[in-house]
Amino acid sequence: LIRSLFQPAPLRRSSVLALTERMNSITQVLSSLEYLAGEDDRRRGGLNNWDLIRHQFRTGSAAFDKLFDIAADRRVTRALHAARVGAGLGLLLPTKGRTRLLANLVLSGTSPLLYPRHVYGTDGTDQVSLLVQAATTVARAGDRNPQLVDACLWFISMQATLSYTAAGVAKVASPTWRSGEALTGIMRTRTYGDSHVWRMLRSYPRTGRAVSAGVLALESLFPLVYAARGRLARPMVFAAGAFHVANARVMGLGRFVPAFGSTYPALLYTAGPAVRRDTEGRVTERRDDLAPRLAAVGAVAAAGAALAARAGRRQQVLRRRDHQRRLSTTTRNVLAYRLTGPTDEGLPLIVAEHGLASTAEHWAWVTGAVSRRFPTLTYSRAGYGRSQYVANGPYRLETAVQDLVDLVDRVAGTRPVVLVGHSLGGYLALRAAPRLAGRVTGLCLIDSSHPAELKRSPRQARGAATLDNTLLLMSASLKLGLGALLPRPSWVDDLPEAVREYALAQYRDSGLWDAARREWKATRAEFLAYDGQPLRVEVPLLVVTAAATASGDPNHKELHDELAQQAPWSSQHVVTGATHDNLLTDGTTAQQVADLVVGFVDRLGPGRGAAVGAGGDSRDDR
């Protein structure tokens, strides 16, 4: 028995195709019966009321939009599902040739039409059945061409292998799964869990961790079905099938059994020997393996293109920009900076400090407006943009603070300085200000970080829990050349046109994420070690909070209030319609920030210049 379990399965092409069709039709019939039983869901008050969701599915093609609208009509939807049940039953029965093709066509043609109509509540089985159905339809249409049928069966097995592997890799990439917490966490829910299993996992945590590790191993190692000449295919497919049967009972995911089960005949067929012989050793069937070879060639070509694009983006990031200069600081880091605006020595210098995983270009709207009045300095912290991180030893935020102090020392001349920082940049500006005493005459904190935020804001603490992992994945993926898979974020096109492509290149380059990860590790350690002592602020302060921060994270707003109270005098504002991220990138909110900064610097008054030169004390500005 054991030997037979580890032997490749001797399956014939035609029976594999028929078996796949039958198993998949069980999923299709079940699914359509469920939809027919849940008509309320499509009426007014249902969560798939087409009147409200149709706008999400506008394709840009009037013909497709019309088709979706027709399919979404209540009577048409009902008729289509009835036809799908009929077609599914047709495939379950021992029908022949054209009938089977017609049934396949009905099922595969209606799936994408009905997908938008039922979008809320769809799950993985809908995706599996759509893909399998498409492949069996093509295979049935060309079932006299064995090579074509093999390409279809390969497609099904490659998708099945991808599905398990992707699910496994995504779990391995998650700290929640790696720690073993995820399984217990899912089981405690009423939606996908089971009270008995949850209690058992809680009583026997080691068993829970072992089951969780088993799931991760089964899924992420699923490509082993093709190892050892297919000898592992049967045990792996058996294990995967048992996994779905257990999930059917425990998680209420019954449809997954026939859905994934429908891919197993193709998996066993493609993992088995390419040449099949009868008992006398004569060749009876020869499998065509064009599809996996094409996939390998395609994957290699895509990887090559991705790496070439990565190199192009890196070059773009490192290219010198107009008016950009560089200097080395005492930490040995090299900072790229730009100085814009009037050159009048009497005017204060506005220094903009960007946030974590951000760019100097995020300031473009604000500095564009502020530099009409005052000289303005923007720069990329070490590791971001053209700035290089070369400092030795473990990274601490002190390095970034020292870089900022050195930059101001070297560039400001005799001008007074106003530091403007967004997010983490705000905290760095706060730290740098006492070191530049007598030079810094004001501080502008734009939705700033606060060292107590991880302890006092549950929302910040939640976000922080997975940030390191996210930054690591971003950096590693971009090093592999996956930058092209990152959609162009909407904030890029909110920025002034001149900086968009440069900001986008940085966003898709691993340099930004490496720098962010280095900074985040230090930030997290320092914030968690913060003893809660009030921060010393000895200059006037402008505190700006984004409306979304104020409403969504009142604890964070409270920290902003406390900061404002520490200053000799302060001005506090909430920018309506702004979020933490769009505060600078959205033209309208950024203009408000710029106006607040200019107004604040004006309020610093004549003393804004007097603070410097004679070793002046910034408190003179009160």
């Binding site: 809320y120 090579q147 092209a484």
Partner: protein, 188 residues
């Protein structure tokens, strides 16, 4: 048969190539849409037909909470009712293994709540979005059903709460509170 087949094998016909290339292209797009971070879903973002699969089941961050939709009503005589559950989650049974049509609605509630909370997280005005209107109507219809044959209430308010399910040691979290929604007249 073997001879004829071997001959064709050397010279794959056009259709086998075309179908093979098309399906492999589809598979490559699918493979490029499985990054553990959904931020990398550039290709899936363009999929209107649901043909690019998402195989990251329960990953990277699995749902470890249930969503509950609750509502309270301002009755016709101005009384405010306590919070009542609008949605419910079926208790697991053996029968679910083979037939569980309610799964789709439970998943729909979960999906819609997730979308609304995502809008809130992004700082966007959730009340402008289709997901909010779907849930608003979902609750409104439930309220009207509850008060059928009675004077129409003045309005209602709904709430999305999150709870750890069977783990009752944890308190529920209240994540989204709708504005007061007036109910002036019966819908046409």
């Amino acid at each position: 048969m073997n001879g004829a087949f071997a001959g064709r094998d050397r010279r794959r016909d056009f259709w086998a190539w075309a179908v093979g290339a098309g399906l492999v292209g589809w598979w490559l797009v699918s493979a490029a849409s499985q990054h553990p971070l959904t931020t990398f879903d550039r290709l899936r973002a363009r999929d209107r037909f649901g043909v690019v699969p998402n195989w990251r089941f329960f990953a990277p961050e699995p749902a470890q909470h249930d969503f509950h939709v609750l509502h309270r009503v301002l009755t016709a005589d101005g009384e405010q009712t306590p919070w009542t559950a609008t949605s419910s989650i079926a208790r697991r049974s053996d029968f679910h293994t083979v037939w569980f049509p309610g799964r789709r609605r439970e998943k729909a509630v979960f999906d819609v709540c997730s979308v609304i909370l995502q809008h809130v997280e992004e700082g966007a005005a959730a009340t402008d979005r289709p997901a909010y209107h779907l849930l608003r109507e979902f609750v409104e219809v439930a309220v009207r059903r509850e008060y059928r044959g009675q004077p129409s209430p003045q309005g209602f308010q709904f709430l999305i709460a999150r709870h750890t399910g069977y783990d009752e040691e944890q308190d529920p979290e209240y994540l989204f509170l709708s504005p007061f929604i007036p109910l002036n007249e019966d819908p046409a």
